[in-house]
Symmetry: C2
Amino acid sequence: MKIITGGITKPQGFKANGLCCGIRKSGKFDLGMFYSEKPCVAAGVFTKNSVVAAPLVISKKHIKNGKAQAMIVNSGNANCYTGELGLLQAYLTTEIFANKLGIAVNDVLVTSTGIIGKALPFEKIEKAVDKLVSGLSKTGSKNFEQAILTTDLAEKEKTVEIIIGGKKVIIGGCAKGSGMIAPNMATMLGFITTDAAITPKLLKEALQKANELSFNRITVDGCMSTNDMVTVFANGLAGNKVISTKGKDFEKFQEALNFVCLDLAKKIVLDGEGATKFITVNIIGAKTEKHAHDMAMAVANSNLVKTAAFGCNPNWGRVAQAVGSLGISYVNENHMKIEFSPFNKKEISISVIFTQGKQNATVYTSDLSNEYVRINAEYN
Amino acid sequence: MKIITGGITKPQGFKANGLCCGIRKSGKFDLGMFYSEKPCVAAGVFTKNSVVAAPLVISKKHIKNGKAQAMIVNSGNANCYTGELGLLQAYLTTEIFANKLGIAVNDVLVTSTGIIGKALPFEKIEKAVDKLVSGLSKTGSKNFEQAILTTDLAEKEKTVEIIIGGKKVIIGGCAKGSGMIAPNMATMLGFITTDAAITPKLLKEALQKANELSFNRITVDGCMSTNDMVTVFANGLAGNKVISTKGKDFEKFQEALNFVCLDLAKKIVLDGEGATKFITVNIIGAKTEKHAHDMAMAVANSNLVKTAAFGCNPNWGRVAQAVGSLGISYVNENHMKIEFSPFNKKEISISVIFTQGKQNATVYTSDLSNEYVRINAEYN
């Protein structure tokens, strides 16, 4: 596996673009798209929040057949909690782009990020269709990455190259995160493109596995968004023999996809709202996988642990309090050891070690700073 | 029921005191006690955290027989995660006071609040025994209230008078809260005294009920402490006929106890770390009691909702996100209505109204401010 640059337009056949259509008053880019010249095998994972944004309802329907060719994203408005009108507008967004591109409506996916509960200014998107499509290019990934940001400070992308059956296969990805980052779902927006040839079934399986090991292992504020999704589009233009069984080729693909997703997930944490620290929480030697995972999340989501990290204060009492709060019987001072890396660094780790079992879990999070409070008190 | 003043020393036969023995370097009071001239019927509720502080281990044992006569509290050190030495010191604390008072060791309870994981400077407590006991007085409740504070800004007390069987019965209480306030346990330190005559069984039942409706309905930061406990001491000096059945007398007592506990619980929220708002979260019309309670807690513990409150920003998208995060199927925009009181006030309310069921829940919380972060980043 070779780390390269180029993002979502690096795989063959993908183009992207981004611009400001006027949803965000600041003039920042707020509308982006990417497109594959060849129809793709596609898979997605979506928020498990029971309050689901309108575009996700549409995208879930459209991706059901395991196919897609274009993705439309706006920032500045989540199109969530927007009733029938919101659903209609999400659908119409896919329709106007499908018409312009000359492809089937259900090969277009749509997603939105931004404030919840305000009507989408659909006419602004409508007016920007021509410009957005005509500007699609092989160098458009940066514009796309900018268009998906909200309170993020930096674009997040990762690209790798692998060889499958003698053919060069590229996987590119980008993501948007920052607030409302929590597990149990996609937890943010993630877009992966690849020119690998792979069956829909295995692509879905690979994405679910990669998601489980990456985006579901990060938490910024324990808040589960209504709009989160991660998708992967695979157009097969690399010319490799279609990956259709779980052999070596699949493993290679899975490993590369895991790597891209984990890198993006870590970048989301690093760019978490107000984050000054990147915190790795390790639980080692728990009795069950669930214990390990729940304890890691309890530590990572503890405001007391997160403020202690912000204050460079390795307060292990707060870590003990967090793991103990789950009420697991063997979790007490007689059976655990708490270890910290030096807390004055930007990247820190907290490990809780038990001798009761063999299950481990790792979760990534950021600290809780004044800046987090400022951002979220003022955001509207 | 008449609201009066006087706190834990207002009921007949109770005396209290508080002083600085030197655990806290600031010179603030850090050691307190109260004592009943007559042995009491007593009950307690304790943290459900599996990491339990040493004094709670001792107090749980001592209160098992439903009796107690004195309570010793120190602030500045939680005596938690302190191993065998901590347990020994907690026990010795009860022993030295029992000897001084001339009562049985297991009639003395002990509790501690402050930093976790540091050895208790036991010799400082030992040296202060004579002074603390000799200073016990009917006006000592204020000193006691000061001695139990950590990051609290103000003493919290409530006192009521009721008439039971023609006799005047007084219930007095005080509490300490501020950080690590969350449900599923006592969630802070609460001390209730009364001169009512009541059986141990009914006293315990009354306390559990009152606790469920008060201290278990508040949350400041979702963090469950290792040291929380609420106790009630009843010495019977009011001379009422012993409350031994669930008749009208019991109901009157229960109602007054509920009132005192809820008032103290609300005061804890108002004095929450960095709190600028008192937030009441109502869930109305949920299908089950658990749904109602879980949703209320999800809203109250959401950092995004709490920062929105701090910013006077009634962002109902964040409320929708919080209730939706539980994945309850009917919790979506088609079945719920979100209502806010004016958000520029100090006391605000957030109500989520469903038409799916008949279960309601109310939870109290504070906002998340810069000050919370500052306090918890610097605390050590």
